[in-house]
């Protein structure tokens, strides 16, 4: 059971996507795990062959407990029964209105099913007859030329259903044909929303759920608040915090964004949040004690900036995905990452590795938030940058009073790693970057 944050002590295995004997490659999603915060996909970090599944769906285990045994690539799995609770489910849900959809491919491995679910309908149709193997899916992906099917063709769009969405639909008795969603596969959040709206009048499927039902919303909320409370208490107890704040004129940054976004469609626009995230990462250059972790009673500076950005989940919950090499990315790349992780976090499709290893956190309350963040350092990190909302304020410029878009940036620092002077230099560097986005934001 991977640790998906300092506040995670245990997790519940929701679903296996592999069987013993399946060949897996580094980065493959092999299971779905329920943490106190959300459902998260777990990937494998080595190539190999699944030897044995050690934990069954619905089982809660502590962080660090082995979930499965992996053998070297080329090895064969021992003859062991599959773990109790793992059941075969169709890779593609057959929907009533999809009269032209391709035949459901025969897929033995849930991992391959998972990969098939990511294919477009025409790619599924192009799969060979008979049993579909991993290499068939990879060849189909390699041949991929067309983008997503056009929106407005729901019968083709809805034939793709994520494993988590499939499970939630079974649990909640939701007819997947009634789930409204945007482009891409049907996700768990859309299924839950459909259930909440009572969108489905279909009878509950006779097949039992793939894995045991999850916790109720109340239980999840309680667990989430407890987990956050435990982490914050630990931080307040262990970390000798100091706090700094700096008001920043955001006029030039806002102007740069307006100029850049002018005439672009929504899908190509960049938000202030992306500019701020990129600047937050770049500002650590030359400032000691801000970017890194506190381990074994000493500060360990990080070689690159792995920026952690909390994402609020709709309906409750919080995940903190990490952007690697954040100081090296141009702002449009950061924006693409933000779009992607927010979408996947809210759809229950974030991967475990994306939630670990942060070296600096940015809490951005956004344009609906409060003016000031008094942050709590996310251990084992040593600093947290807070950003309040950008709003018009009276601002003195060259002895004159003006009205400028402005925000208050804050820094919660760990006195064991840095002091107020370092923190002030950091906030000043961040301010300077926001005054000159044209010099660095696209590079």
């Amino acid at each position: 059971m991977p640790s998906l944050g300092a506040d995670m002590e245990r997790g519940t295995l929701l679903e296996w996507l592999v069987h013993p004997g399946d060949t897996v490659h580094r980065g493959d999603v092999v299971a779905v795990v329920d943490t106190d915060k959300a459902a998260v996909e777990v990937e494998v970090f080595e190539d190999g062959v699944v030897q044995e599944l050690l934990v069954g769906p619905g089982t809660q285990v502590a962080v660090g407990v082995p979930l499965a045994r992996l053998g070297p690539a080329g090895a064969t799995a021992p003859e062991v029964p599959e773990i109790l609770g793992a059941r075969e489910v169709p890779a593609i849900i057959e929907l009533p209105e999809a009269t032209t959809q391709p035949a459901v491919p025969a897929v033995r491995s849930p991992l391959v099913r998972h990969l098939v679910a990511e294919l477009a309908p025409d790619e599924v149709a192009a799969l060979p007859a008979g049993v579909v193997h991993r290499q068939d899916v990879e060849q189909a992906r390699a041949r991929r030329k067309a983008p997503e099917p056009p929106v407005g063709e729901p019968s083709s769009r809805r034939t793709r259903v994520s494993p988590y969405a499939r499970r939630r639909a079974a649990e909640l008795g939701v007819d997947l044909a009634s789930v409204t969603t945007g482009p891409g596969p049907v996700r768990g959040a859309a299924v839950e929303a459909a259930a909440a709206r009572g969108a489905s009048e279909a009878p509950r499927p006779q097949e039992p759920p793939v894995s045991p039902p999850g916790r109720s919303d109340d239980d999840r909320q309680l667990a989430l608040r407890r987990a956050i409370g435990a982490l914050m208490s630990r931080s307040k107890h262990e970390v000798p915090h100091y706090y700094l704040a700096q008001d920043v004129d955001a006029g030039r940054a806002v102007r740069w964004l307006l100029d850049r976004n002018a005439g672009r469609p929504p899908g190509e626009q960049v938000l202030f949040a992306a500019l701020l995230a990129a600047a937050t990462a770049r500002a650590v250059e030359g400032v000691a004690g801000i970017n890194g972790t506190w381990e074994d009673d000493r500060f360990v500076p990080a070689a690159d900036v792995r920026l952690a950005v909390p994402v609020r989940l709709r309906g409750g919950g919080l995940l903190t995905p990490v952007l690697p090499d954040a100081a090296e990315l141009p702002v449009p790349e950061v924006m693409r990452w933000l779009r992607d992780v927010v979408r996947r976090a809210r759809g229950g499709r974030l991967r475990a590795a994306e939630l670990t290893g942060g070296t600096l956190t940015l809490t951005d309350l956004g344009d609906q938030g409060a003016d000031l963040v008094h942050g709590v350092v996310y251990v084992p990190q040593v600093a947290l940058v807070g950003a309040g909302r950008v709003r018009e304020r009276p601002w003195a410029v060259d002895g004159m009073l003006a009205v400028r878009p402005a925000l208050t940036l804050t820094l919660a620092g760990d006195h064991r790693a840095s002091d107020g002077h370092d923190g002030s230099r950091y906030l000043d560097a961040l301010d300077q970057l926001l005054q000159t986005p044209e010099r660095w934001a696209d590079t």
Binding site: A262, G263, P266, L271, F272, L338
Partner: protein, 88 residues
């Protein structure tokens, strides 16, 4: 052809599936009523343009405040799109 209101409901469901549009007054600030952040608003605009075939600029998005604004935008996008695709 769906009505503009139906298209708006569909688009909002893709961004904020837990929100019941029927509970949002037409003159309410949609961001506040549906608890949308900047990225949600951008995604909503993107989804609406995809569903209607229309186009929207950042200036237009910034002027969409109330639910009525968004539904009117959906209506105009659908009309414009139909005009482009109808035979001469």
């Amino acid at each position: 052809m769906s009505s503009a209101q139906e298209v708006f409901v569909l688009a909002l469901a893709s961004v904020a599936p837990e929100v019941d549009v029927a509970l949002i007054p037409v003159d309410a600030d949609l961001r506040r009523a549906a608890d949308l952040d900047s990225l949600d608003v951008l995604s909503l605009a993107e989804e609406l343009t995809a569903l209607t075939g229309g186009a929207v600029t950042d200036d237009q998005v910034s002027r969409l405040v109330t639910r009525a604004d968004w539904e009117a935008f959906a209506e105009s996008s659908m009309t414009a799109s139909a005009g482009r695709t109808s035979p001469a």
